[in-house]
């Protein structure tokens, strides 16, 4: 049989029973669409999280007090027991690191912010002028905290976009006076809206000089020190230098933890990639189910067309020609299903992106390819048994059946 004839014959056979064929195509399509949409969701989640973390600022090393590694016994442990706190001077010392470009200490606490007639509880972050560059934040009005001695601080504050909105509405905020706790600050700047990062929403923060924040909360410790490496390649160096400097300052004990953004990102990347893969696997089950359906439908079709198969044999069709005709039919049906499922899936992903513009629900290429190939492969694989059965039919008995 010539290839075009084979294809024409198989497509005639497929369209000869439109209900059966369309149901089968639908089953395969749902399987492929499930793979495409679910992996789009999984991969979208991964991209979303990575984008959120990237907004923290690049080349970042975060230093926090406390140790996460097990170390040897040190006589100092016996005396102090608890790890030493991070101080402003620690932060200042980090600037000596050769690979460290900027350092921004952070001290946080909650307090009340008030303007005449309005009162609100806010997170107050004490930091320095470098913070805005380390975090790559934008100022929408005024300027960030001024460059000054870290140990002292002018009574100025920078507020987040949401704080501004709630305290001042549409009115201008720069130059206005606010009360935070029992201190008065003059607003010098408003941050542009940025969203979540580092577990704190900068839109809802009030930034004041670090020395004033420590005074307000009556402590001399820091919550974090943000360290910016000179460039991406020097992140590990910057991390090592930061740890070394702090170890020296803490009497030889490494009692701080430094995490790099890359490590955090890589962890999330791995985690969410695994999630996407798992979701793809679950979706693939529906494809396997569709494959079994292909087999079932083709088997029924062989029974229904028994007398036709007998006739074809009488007319000189070889067993292999009949096998091929059924295989081509199964392949065509699953290919149609795969294409339809691909379009459905892409449409579904587009719909999700339409409703949640911030969520990058793009199916990864590998998942789309795997979905299409699996659909085709299962269709053909599960078509083999019915095709074999058709080819092996006894023509006499097949013809006798009406």
């Amino acid at each position: 049989m010539r290839a075009p004839d084979l294809i024409r014959f198989a497509s005639h056979a497929a369209t000869g029973n439109p209900l059966r064929s369309s149901l089968l195509v639908l089953a395969v399509a749902i399987g492929v669409a499930a793979v495409v949409v679910l992996t789009a969701l999984g991969d979208g989640a991964r991209r979303y999280v990575l984008a959120e973390f990237s907004s923290l600022g690049s080349n970042l090393v975060i230093v926090l007090p406390g140790r996460s590694q097990t170390g040897g016994f040190n006589p100092a442990n016996a005396i102090t027991g608890t790890p030493r706190d991070l101080t402003i001077n620690d932060a200042k010392a980090l600037l000596r690191g050769a690979s460290i470009r900027r350092v921004a200490p952070i001290a946080v606490g909650t307090s009340e912010i008030s303007v005449p007639g309005k009162l609100r509880e806010v997170m107050v972050a004490g930091t320095t002028s470098q913070y805005i560059e380390v975090r790559h934040l934008d100022i929408s009005q005024g300027s960030f905290l001024p460059e000054e001695d870290w140990g002292r601080g002018a009574a100025v504050a920078v507020i987040g976009a949401k704080v501004r909105q709630e305290m001042f509405g549409q009115g201008s905020a720069v130059g206005r006076l606010i009360r935070v706790g029992d201190r008065r600050f003059r607003i010098v700047g408003v941050l542009a809206s940025s969203g979540q990062g580092l577990g704190m929403n900068t839109d809802e923060l009030v930034f004041v000089p670090v020395a004033l924040a420590q005074a307000m909360f009556n402590s001399n410790t820091l919550f974090r020190i943000l360290v910016e490496a000179k460039n991406r390649e020097e992140i590990p160096l910057a991390k090592a230098q930061a740890l070394e400097i702090l170890k020296l300052r803490h009497e030889g004990e490494e009692d701080v933890t430094a995490i790099t953004q890359d490590a955090v990102l890589a962890t999330f990347d791995r985690l969410l990639s695994a999630l996407t893969l798992g979701v793809a696997g679950i979706a693939a089950i529906s494809l396997a189910v569709a494959g079994i359906l292909v087999m079932n439908v083709m088997l029924v079709s062989v029974v229904q067309r028994t007398s036709e198969i007998g006739l074809l044999k009488a007319l000189g069709a070889t067993g292999s020609a009949i096998r091929l005709a059924f295989l081509v039919e199964a392949a065509m049906l699953s290919a149609a299903g795969a294409v339809m499922g691909f379009l459905l899936g892409q449409g579904g992903a587009a719909l999700i992106r339409n409703f949640y513009p911030t969520f990058p629900a793009f199916p990864p290429d590998w998942a789309v390819a795997a979905g299409l190939i699996t659909a085709l492969a299962t269709g053909i694989l599960f078509g083999v048994l019915p095709a074999r059965r058709a080819a092996l039919l006894d023509p006499v008995q097949a013809l006798a059946k009406r």
Binding site: M1, L315, G316, G319
Partner: protein, 228 residues
């Protein structure tokens, strides 16, 4: 003397129905010359159809030899047998056996499609066949849109399109009324007149009497052969 077209010797065909054995054909020997017109008659279950299936290579004997055109065909593998069916044998069935989803044109073209004849060649031959059998205006109709006589004419056109050496017809008039049946018989006889061997299984004594040779089957055995 010319080479016989068909030579059956000591053919046995046994079916197993549960525990019992049914001898559908028993020590059957038969020679048919090219161009003969043979009617196979006999009561139901006498082995007529089994004989026809065997001659058409749709069935294999349990014992005995079948030499078709000087070639022992019982030893051929299924693919080779399919090739012989394709080139040398045309089937006409009582219930026509047209493919319902295909048009008359495509039904007639089917054996050529299976044999891999080029579409151009196919078109020429199908159009000629449609004309010869008076089906020109029925080419695009599906079997369900054709009358019984037209269906059987399509089936005969299909059986002859590969220009086989013999036509095996199993009760070709069984599903037709008298007049249409006669028409079909005439068509088959016309083919026979052009040298095609015609073997018809029939209950119809009318056809039986028209044929030049009658075989009477009973209980799987050849009871009477008018040629002997």
């Amino acid at each position: 003397m010319a080479e016989p077209q068909i030579r059956l010797a000591g053919i046995e065909r046994v079916f197993h129905l549960g525990d019992s054995e049914v001898h559908a054909l028993h020590s059957l020997s038969l020679t048919i010359m090219p161009g003969e017109y043979v009617a196979v008659m006999g009561p139901s279950g006498s082995g007529k159809s089994t004989l026809l299936n065997l001659l058409g290579l749709l069935d294999r004997p349990n014992a005995g030899s079948y030499v078709l055109e000087g070639r022992d065909v019982t030893t051929l593998n299924p693919e080779e047998q399919a090739e012989v069916r394709s080139r040398r044998i045309g089937f006409v069935f009582q219930s026509f056996h047209l493919v319902p989803r295909l048009t008359a044109y495509d039904n007639i073209a089917l054996p050529m499609m299976l044999a891999g004849v080029s579409p151009k060649e196919r078109d020429v031959r199908v159009n000629k066949a449609l004309k010869d059998y008076g089906l020109e205006d029925r080419a695009g109709h599906r079997p369900e849109e054709l009358s019984g006589g037209q269906r059987q004419r399509v089936a005969i056109a299909r059986a002859t399109i590969m220009e086989p050496a013999m036509i095996l017809a199993d009760e070709p008039t069984g599903n037709l009324d008298r007049a249409t049946g006669d028409e079909v018989v005439h068509l088959l006889e016309e083919l026979n007149g052009r040298g095609v061997t015609l073997i018809v299984v029939t209950h119809d004594p009318g056809i039986g009497s028209r044929s030049r040779r009658q075989l009477l089957m009973e209980d799987g055995e050849l009871r009477r052969d008018s040629a002997i």
